[in-house]
Subunit: 103 residues, 2 copies
């Protein structure tokens, strides 16, 4: 693909505990916080049996900085203690991309 | 990370039309068909406002073969005609991964 500039995706898959109190509010707050990070490109999220959040970033450096963000670190800890039974984080390089839009 | 063997992920995000007739059945059928492909590693899916399906593959070759699978090609065409207003496909190399599991 011509002029495609690779970027990065973090695929976060998770299953929740029964203690979901405060989760939605914090998730929304984290999305707002991520948007303020340098190198943030976007985010997609959906949850049924499994939750999938994919965030998009300009560089691995931007992902590292987001992971180390103080407020985010605190929420990661809360997530392990309360909200998640299981999660998986995959750091990926987006190598190509195509889109369909109904005309 | 030691001994991490890179593999590939296809991030498929989509929004549906109002015509969802037959969709669930075909989606299930496609998952079964994908599982039979060489190099298939797994799949995660969830849908709210946006649908996210991530499939995992051993190689780019395996992804190419899946995309070109005759039955899958037919369903891709149906998807564009009927089920999807929009979709995006990102082909990614998974560079690292970590997991949390509540003990």
């Amino acid at each position: 693909m011509k002029n495609f500039k690779p970027y990065f995706a973090v695929i976060f898959t998770s299953t929740q505990t029964e203690d979901t109190q405060g989760y939605d509010e914090i998730a929304e707050k984290m999305e707002l916080l991520a948007k303020q990070q340098n190198g943030y490109l976007g985010m997609d999220a959906a949850r049924n049996d499994v939750g999938i959040t994919v965030s998009y970033w300009e560089s691995l450096e931007a992902i590292k900085n987001w992971k180390a963000n103080t407020e985010h670190l605190f929420v990661q800890q809360k997530g392990r203690e309360r909200w998640y039974n299981w999660y998986n984080v995959r750091v990926c390089k987006v190598e190509r991309e195509y889109e369909f839009r109904k005309s």
